[in-house]
Structure formats: C-alpha cells, structure tokens
C-alpha cells in the first residue's frame, strides 16, 4: 500500500512536470499564468498539495491539456 501511494504521488508529479517542461515553462512562469505562487505549483508537482477543481482547470488551460491527462490516474 505504501509503495502504491508513493508511485501514485510520483505519477502526479511526472505528468504535470512533463506537460510544463514540454511547453518550456518554468514553475514561476506557469504560476504567473495560472495566478498562484511558484511554491504552490511546486507543492502540487511534489504531490504535497491537492488543488481545487478550479485550479486544476486553470492549470490544464495554461498547459493546453485536459483534466484526464494531468490529474486522472
């Protein structure tokens, strides 16, 4: 169970991070686009903060992805 949780957390990090890097955006640039702080984006990528649906949608729009692609397992 512990390993599955760790794997799940890492999968979330990778999807969002890959999508951000693919658009050549830094955490700061993505944060500016979405309207949050760099630390919040970093914590979401690290799996330490669960964003609200509105924030998830804003991130998806900024990265030109769907909710499924970034946040669904």
């Amino acid at each position: 169970m512990l390993k599955m949780n760790a794997m799940t957390a890492n999968m979330k990090n990778i999807k969002l991070k890959i999508a951000r890097v693919a658009l050549e955006l830094s955490q700061e640039q993505l944060a500016e686009k979405v309207g949050v702080t760099r630390q919040t984006i970093g914590l979401i990528e690290a799996g330490k903060y669960n964003p609200s649906l509105n924030l998830c949608i804003a991130i998806c729009m900024a990265l030109e992805k769907t909710l499924d692609e970034l946040f669904w397992e």
Partner: protein, 230 residues
C-alpha cells in the same frame, strides 16, 4: 500592494485566522473585566460589543443556518466552511478594534479605560504574523509581481508614514507653532516609517525563504520515497 491571489495561501491564512479568533475573544473578555474597574461608561464598551459580540453572533447564526453548530465529523467541506467563517469573523473583529482604537483615542484621549480597544489586537497580530511568516505565506508569487509589489510598497510607506505623523502631531498642535507641528509630524513619520519599511522587507524575505525551504523539503521527501520504492 498587489500580490498574487493564491487559494493555498488563502486556505492556510484562514486556518491561522480561525485559530487566533478565539485568542482574540479571550483577550476581549479579560480586557472588559479589567476595564470595568476603571470606567463603566457604556460608550467605552461599544468596540467590544460591535467587534466581538457581532462577530460571534454571526458565527453562531451561520453555523446554525448550515446545521453544523454541534457537528463533530471530519467532512472536509464542513471543516473548510467552519474555518472560512471563523477567519471572516476574526478579520471583521480585528478591523473593528483597529478603527475603534483610533476613534477612542480621538474622543477619550485622557481616559485610560479607552486605551484597551487600542491595544487588544496587538497579541493576536503578533501571533498571526509569526505563523504567516513561519509558513511562508507572505509570498510575492513571481519576479514580476515582486517588482510591482516593491514599487507600490515604496510609494505606500512614505504616504502612510506622513499620515501617521500628522495624526499623532494633531494632539499637540494647540501648544505649538506651525513649523514646530510640521517638524513634529516629520519626526514621528520617520520614527514609524523607517522601522516599518525595513521590518516588513525583512518579514517578506524571511517568509519567502521559509516557503522555498518548505518546497525543497517536499521535493526531497518525494525523491526519498522514490528511492525507497526501488
């Protein structure tokens, strides 16, 4: 001072406000008990009635309306609602005490009992500031927001300092010439403005450092768990 609106920061800040709300209420009870020894004029107790009384009543009505007054479950939405409500009550109460402290100083400058409202917010303000900085919630967001924010801050502090200087010099202007009053106001403005500017700048730097540290710890924790897996 324009900063980025961030839901994570708003949530964490609300948690801090909610925790210090009952501290503010407790201090109000103590302050009223002490004030009763000095003066029992009803007008002197208006800040406490309007601030704490109205906010607590609002909290009870809101909780009752949503049916959560006596609920003890751990539903996330209900907890979030309770925290937001307590946060709102605290902010309202805090602002009332700040404004009423100034008003009391104007109408009852020689009455020691009137000064209670002026000082009651200092301890909760200190506690809130400590937790906000410790949790890295005073964040600019990005370099662009930081540049805009610093410019606004550099313009705002001198204006606020002058306002403070003029306000405080107002009380002694009857016994002074015009130039003496202007000099008095400028000195008071500097005495307040300089420590405030450097104090706030330091607080922002410390908060930013704590926020980055928090992020580094979270990323390292994530890496450690990945290594454990393999």
């Amino acid at each position: 001072m324009k900063r980025v609106k961030d839901e994570r920061i708003a949530k964490e800040a609300n948690k801090i406000f909610a925790r210090t709300y009952f501290l503010l209420l407790s201090l109000t009870v103590v302050e009223v008990a002490i004030k009763l020894f000095f003066d029992r004029t009803f007008a002197l107790y208006l800040p406490e009635i309007i601030g704490s009384g109205v906010s607590f009543l609002f909290l009870l009505i809101r909780y009752t309306h949503m049916g959560v007054l006596f609920r003890r479950d751990t539903d996330e939405r209900i907890e979030d609602f309770k925290i937001r409500t307590k946060g709102m009550c605290h902010v309202y109460c805090f602002v009332v005490y700040l404004i009423s402290g100034v008003v009391m100083l104007l109408f009852y400058p020689d009455n020691i009992a009137a000064l209670g409202s002026f000082f009651i917010w200092i301890i909760p303000a200190g506690v809130m500031s400590h937790h906000i900085i410790k949790n890295g919630l005073l964040a600019w967001g990005s370099n662009q927001s930081k540049k805009r924010g610093i410019m606004t801050f550099r313009v705002g502090v001198p204006i606020a300092s002058l306002f403070f200087g003029v306000f405080m010099a107002w009380f002694t202007m009857d016994n002074e010439t015009l130039w003496q009053t202007v000099l008095h106001a400028c000195i008071l403005a500097l005495l307040w403005g300089i420590p405030f500017y450097f104090g706030m700048t330091r607080m922002f730097m410390k908060s930013d450092k704590n926020a980055n540290q928090q992020l580094t710890n979270a990323e390292n924790e994530c890496d450690d768990s990945k290594h454990e897996e393999y």
